[in-house]
Amino acid sequence: MSGPVLRVAHLYPRLMNIYGDRGNIMCLRHRCEARGIGFELTELGLRDRLDPASCDLIFAGGAQDREQRVVVDDLLATKAAAVREAVEADVALLAVCGAYQLFGRYYREASGAELPGAGVFDLHTENPGEGARRCIGNIVAEWEAPGGGTSTIVGFENHGGRTRLGPGARPLARVRSGFGNNGEDGTEGAVYRNAIGTYIHGSLLPKNPALADHVIRLALRRRYGDVELAAIDDRAEQRAHAAALRLR
């Protein structure tokens, strides 16, 4: 009998890749293959259609404003409905930075122009204008790890927009140091069903192995139930995580 296979749909790998997002895919592949779990990657670009039943995890990364504008038209025209349908059917989703903003209800640019979002998460993002500082720097956030106990997510954030969650989304983590969603309410990221959005890159997953395994478990659960993930050599990961906790 063949073992489980994680099927990942990577949205706009060419256009949304500004902050080392490739590292997240490399990490998911490594952590699956090290445990004998198959890994299948489908890259979807402009005009490609997403089949909501064909994937276990949807991933999308960060983009510059110009690419984000190109992507948003295509996202709404060809993929947003399928992404929403997939998430309602408990497919997992991980959206980092620019994609996190695009999957909310809307993004208001510094100019005041409003880009409609894919509406996966009950949240909206507003850029307070050219005069306001971008939220840039190392970030540490506290996260209720699914195994119990408080864990940390470490990385870097760089965003002009301030994100506020509606009642339909809960925060992924609480900011210990850094800005997070808006620099004011102490929240970072969002969770809805098996979908996770976050501003943290760095890349996000390689030095947050507990979060990476959580994403893999969420993604496999729909088709395989609770999959036991064997322990793997995480010494280099833990060293990088611990070092990031000491950064200012």
Binding site: P13, R14, L15, N17, I18, Y19, G20, D21, R22, G23, M26, C27, H30, G45, L46, Q64, D65, R66, E67, R69, V70, R134, I136, G137, N138, G155, F156, N158, H201, G202, S203, P206, K207, D233, R235, A236, E237, R239, A240, A242, A243, A244, L247
Partner: protein, 465 residues
């Protein structure tokens, strides 16, 4: 000379001497800041004296090497360059160089045969255009670099367009036709435009490059398509939407052949052909030589000077620079962003033999605080040839994790202290062997300082006079 300029020159010189006496490095920033405090227009007053005018060189990668090449070409042509060769490329660095060159009377000696060769930080270009009014501006390329400092890559492109809008009508732009973001500046040109590019498809790399920063058209937003890709987003591009495309280059490499630590290049232009044996490896250095040649041609410098300077070229500091230390050949190759680092790693991999690699990752302001870019760089390129590797720098643990993913193993050693890292790497490299050191910017400065103390090289402000 107006008294404030004289006072500014004096203040800058005193600050520079004090800084050097205290052993605080080349004093490049401090001297410039001191002079600018007294006369904010010090750069304007001193550059204006240069009889041959000014040329500015900017872009993400290659500006230090291209500027040094131009400086050597100018010297061959009988000019005396005013060149911020230390790579200190903000206004204060340019000011410091000019103050050092100026006499105590506030005048530039031998002003008639002076050409100002100004390496300029991407974000500093608008100020330089206003104050130095360069005759020629050379743009190398535009890649993602230090996004935490510059903002998005597009922010830099927009700042350049604004700078050019304010440039005098006589300014000549020398643009890389193979880089869509740089070529696009031709639209904003105040005067003449000279395009340069590579027309040798055999130098092309993989068709799709993940470390590519301009994938959509700057005019219409549609995706770009390539018939040839050299590296990053450099290549023969055209827009799939509006049909805008790579301009036909006026000055072009028609043949590039890589050798061991050298590259042979043929450059064609309206005046004929130049054949150059460049003693540097890597296609990125062929681009630097092409940009320098194009700048020199735009300035009207003689072709013999171009060939002589490039044939006899030696590396700019920390860019494929060799040091003899403890019986080992230590080569320092600056790698500060994914595209630049990928080019460096390709050049290392092209050399024969097993490799000893010392990688540094610092996250200082000048390096970029965000280290996520290492996930876009291809450390995998050199892994199969590597016998020994060390991850060093202030973010050594992040680097070790990246190297683990590149196949270097679970136990890549980590060392945060620069001197200790260098000691360990020298000990691990067999006598007579080569140690490849690949640092980010601030690590490169530290490594170079340490190697200089061990007798391997002169300090940068003492070299190349």
């Amino acid at each position: 000379m107006d008294p404030r300029t004289v006072a500014a020159v004096w203040a800058g010189k005193v600050a520079g001497v004090a800084s050097r006496t205290l052993g605080r490095g080349g004093g490049t920033a401090i001297a410039g800041l001191a002079a600018e405090r007294i006369e904010p227009a010090i750069v304007r007053h001193l550059v204006a004296q240069a009889g041959a005018g000014a040329i500015a060189i900017t872009g993400t990668n290659g500006k230090t090497t291209t500027s040094l090449m131009l400086s050597r070409i100018a010297s061959e042509a009988g000019l005396r360059p005013l060149h911020n060769r230390s790579g200190s490329n903000l206004m204060r660095g340019v000011a410091a160089m000019l103050v050092e060159e100026a006499s105590l009377a506030g005048t530039i000696p031998e002003a008639a045969r002076r050409l100002a060769i100004l390496e300029v930080d991407e974000a500093t270009l608008p100020e330089i255009v206003r104050s130095a009014a360069p005759r020629v501006i050379v743009f190398t390329n535009l890649f993602r670099d230090q996004l935490d400092r510059y903002g998005e890559v597009d922010t830099v492109a927009k700042a350049w367009e604004r700078a050019l809008a304010a440039a005098p009508a006589g300014t000549t732009l020398v643009l890389n036709a193979d880089d869509p973001a740089v070529a696009h500046l031709g639209r904003a040109a105040p005067g003449r435009v000279v395009y340069y590019g590579v027309d040798d498809a055999s130098a092309g790399g993989e068709s799709e490059q993940h470390a590519s920063d301009f994938r959509t058209c700057l005019d219409c937003g549609a995706e770009l398509a390539y018939t040839v890709t050299y590296y990053g987003h450099l290549g023969h591009w055209r827009c799939t939407g509006c049909g805008s495309a790579r301009p036909q280059p006026d000055i072009r490499i028609t043949r590039v052949a890589a050798g061991d630590d050298a590259t042979s290049i043929t450059i064609a232009h309206a005046g004929g052909e130049l054949t150059i044996a460049l003693p540097l490896a890597g296609l990125y250095n062929a681009y630097n030589a092409l940009a320098a040649a194009a700048g020199a041609i735009a300035l009207g410098l003689p072709r013999e000077a171009i060939v002589a300077a490039l044939d006899g070229f030696s590396a700019a500091f920390g860019r494929q620079e060799h040091f003899a230390v403890e019986g080992r050949d230590v080569q320092v190759l600056l790698g500060k962003n994914p595209t630049g680092l990928n080019q460096v790693l390709r050049a290392v991999a092209a050399r024969p033999g097993r490799k000893h690699m010392l990688f540094f990752l610092n996250d200082g302001i000048a390096d970029g605080r965000d280290v996520s870019w290492i996930w876009d760089a291809d450390y995998e390129t050199v892994q199969p040839q590597t016998d020994w590797a060390l991850a060093a720098g202030t973010r050594a643990e992040d680097l070790a994790l990246r190297l683990k993913y590149a196949g270097f193993g679970d136990d890549v050693p980590v060392e945060r202290d620069t001197a200790a890292a260098l000691r360990r790497a020298l000990a691990a490299t067999p006598e007579g062997g080569t140690l490849h050191v690949v640092p980010t910017y601030t690590a490169m400065l530290e490594v170079r300082e340490l190697l200089a103390k061990q007798g391997g090289a002169r300090r940068f402000w003492e070299s190349d006079r």
